[in-house]
Point group: C2
């Protein structure tokens, strides 16, 4: 049965599936640099690593990302005879969605948050709360691929579970500052609070339309005020409500004026006032004890994700138009969907793929992040190679990246290889060098050449 495919192989031009990518040495090295930078910051802030499987039971994933999200889940065909439990009539009048649930019980994770919620509930008795965990793993979405949107991409998440303290929000904003400062990316950080959005929905007379208002406001940057109002009118908001909402969206004063304006508007909303207190506490921290970060409260910031209930954070790069490169917020009932109530959490997620694009566009990668190598020995034949191998061993003891060209081919070919691989130094040892215990070192940048005792090589390279 599979033989047909095998025979076809010779004519088949191999490729990756649509929306997925290979990463060659340079890209992979750049990505590893981003991951390890983020990971080290997470670590020094006291976050511990967790990893979950790529596959989750579909029952864990379905219903968590809205109807649209369910459609974007990659489902994995049951192994073995996947049709065994399917009735004949289900096969002959097939409803693709219903049949899918019968023949596919597992799916690829869509984000890191739901698997983490599942992890918390499953391991609740082993976990040391408040639990600070980070997780850097790929996720998969059957989205229509387009520029900057892939079907496989990485998320880099840090969350604190089981603490209501706003210190967590403050620490997460510090992590954001630290990561992007290490990567040399200039950013703007916007914050808002879902409680304020809920308060506004109440104050304009439609507390049940909070989600619609949030989703509509989220688009204000892209579509403008008029379209947002139109969308909300279609969702059933009255003209009276819309008139009350407009001044909120148009208000142009400074931070304090905005907060005072809202404090008056939300005076009857306990929740709304709490949201204002929370945002003020966070802002006060960054104005009084630490003004290295410029945080802007933005009442139109909504972020689409439904599960946020408190602070919302969004980070954009200042020097590249690319959408948000990091975001997050507080959610008060993430684990409720798995039957564990009253666990508050707050987290952020870095978009490594977009960060890569920003760094590539602005040429921010340090020169040594290239997947290259420090030194290569030229291979002139067995005797010379044996001599070089001994020196090579010593370089490796010093943890200097170095290799010997494996075949004794023409010098020109070996030099071309070294050039292409961003080798910094080439080392040569011919008959004469071997007799005298010397080595000749060539600097590939400026072409300078030096001959000295081979023993000195590790020290000389360490200094460069």
């Amino acid at each position: 049965m599979f033989y047909f495919f095998y025979c076809n192989m010779a004519v088949q031009k191999p490729s990756t599936p649509r929306g997925t990518r290979d990463f060659g040495p340079k890209e992979a090295a750049g990505r590893k640099y981003i991951f390890s930078t983020i990971e080290e910051v997470f670590r020094i802030y006291g976050y511990a690593p967790v990893e979950t499987p790529a596959m989750e039971n579909l029952s864990t994933l379905l219903g968590k990302y809205g109807e649209e999200g369910d459609k974007l889940l990659f489902k994995i065909l049951n192994s073995g005879d996947y049709l065994s439990g399917v009735q004949e009539n289900e096969m002959s009048s097939p409803d693709p969605g219903k049949l899918a649930l019968k023949i596919a019980e597992k799916g690829l994770r869509y984000d890191l948050t739901v698997p983490f919620a599942r992890y918390i509930v499953q391991h609740r008795h082993e976990i040391n709360f408040p639990f600070k965990r980070y997780q850097i793993q790929p996720v998969w979405r059957a989205d229509r691929p387009q520029r900057g949107r892939y079907r496989e991409f990485y998320q880099c998440d840090a969350d604190v579970i089981g603490s209501n303290s706003l210190l967590n929000e403050v620490e997460l904003i510090h992590i954001i500052k630290e990561v992007f400062s290490r990567l040399s990316i200039r950013i703007s950080v916007k914050i808002n609070n879902r409680k304020i959005l809920a308060g506004i929905a109440g104050a304009i007379g439609c507390p049940d339309k909070m989600t619609d208002i949030t989703v509509a406001i989220d688009k204000i940057d892209k579509t403008g005020l008029e379209k947002v109002i139109m969308e909300l009118r279609n969702k059933g908001l009255s003209e009276d409500s819309l008139e009350k909402l407009k001044p909120v969206l148009e208000f142009a004063g400074n931070v304090n004026e905005k907060i005072n304006f809202l404090r008056a508007m939300l005076k009857d909303s306990e929740n709304g006032l709490k949201g204002l207190d929370e945002i003020e506490t966070i802002l006060r921290y960054f104005t009084s004890t630490d003004n290295s970060i410029n945080i802007e409260p933005d009442l139109t910031l909504a972020r689409g994700l439904d599960y946020y209930t408190g602070a919302i954070i969004e980070v954009k790069a200042l020097d590249v138009e690319i959408g948000s490169i990091c975001g997050g917020g507080r959610y008060d009932d993430l684990t409720g969907i798995f039957g564990m109530e009253d666990v508050s959490g707050v987290g952020i997620s870095f978009g490594a793929d977009r960060i890569y694009d920003v760094m590539e566009q602005l040429s921010l990668f340090p020169p040594d992040v290239s997947g290259g190598v420090k030194l290569m020995f030229i291979n002139f034949g067995t005797v010379e190679a044996d001599y070089c191998m001994k020196i090579l061993r010593r370089l490796h003891e010093y943890r200097i990246s170095a290799e010997i060209y494996p075949d004794p081919v023409k010098l020109k070919k070996q030099m071309a290889y070294a050039n292409k691989k961003d080798v910094e130094y080439v080392a040569l040892a011919g008959e004469e060098e071997i007799k005298e215990g010397m080595i000749t070192l060539k600097d590939m940048k400026n072409g300078e050449q030096n001959r000295f005792p081979a023993d000195e090589l590790p020290d000389r390279l360490m200094k460069k």
Copy 2:
């Protein structure tokens, strides 16, 4: 349609799919330590990183791992209306395998080798040959889960493509030595050569039975000589051939005697003699210029994988019974299946999951690999927390891992958290300390407590 599932959620006990695992802080930290150790060694030996997508087109994967392997591939249901191209009669008399190919065009990668072969062919014009790449990524197999065998596990591969030189084999054996020496795992390294196995198959009169002989010999350690002979008899080897094969399998002399015995037996096999030359060249290197590694030639070493054509390498842990923890070999035609001929490669693969088990059993993880944190500030309230946050900022500048307990709860609760998290030091600042700019530091191991100017904290911790 999905609503039914959502409602069921409350009663559902969340779990990972069969054969997959979560990794909590301690395990994840241990795994990261293994990956980064292997990765650093790959890097200093001049290998550059490559990453390929988790999903491959099924046409890339099918037919590459034998009929058994095809069955063990995880197939991904096409997204959208996956039934649209399926005829009614295909649905009503379903052949599960045939239908699967219609409704699933992608699969999860089964190993890193075939995706890498696909990568080479696809990117042949950008690649700098000889191409030394490493790749550390998970793979998935729908195997029956059992102790030590998982459906998702990591492979850590290094390969050189486009060079016939035996120096590559030598360097890879050095990498093996270096990795396990850094991880403090004592190992035995066995090598053999498929050309010798081919030569033997020829010399005993059944050159076409090379694969059967290889597969059977591969089991000799587990089942013993008698069963191997029986299996080969069933595969159609004549009694004459079996009589000629026995002395090879039973031969008990030292390395040189073994090689001399084979040189006589394979005197008419050009390929067999070449295999002997290759194994001798590698052994000579390690006896003459570098005897830090004890390599044992083992003529019964066959390794199941079909694509090996030259050297075969297998590594076992000396102090734990667990099967091979690293293996590899030379393959002369890996990319041929994708229409690119005559590209020789040689590679090794570390089994990170088994290596983790070995290190866990022998308690080989260094004490600082625990996902823990160096210091935690006790939180006594807003004023104290603000004071500590400033010191915390400085510790982070020194890249010391440190955190503050987020909530001002009872001291006992905060200390219990610190204990469970393997925090090394706890720092306290009350009214008095704040007035005098001091900090009190408690060593969690011996309970020692010291009070000193807060400014000195980073330096004192750096020294510890």
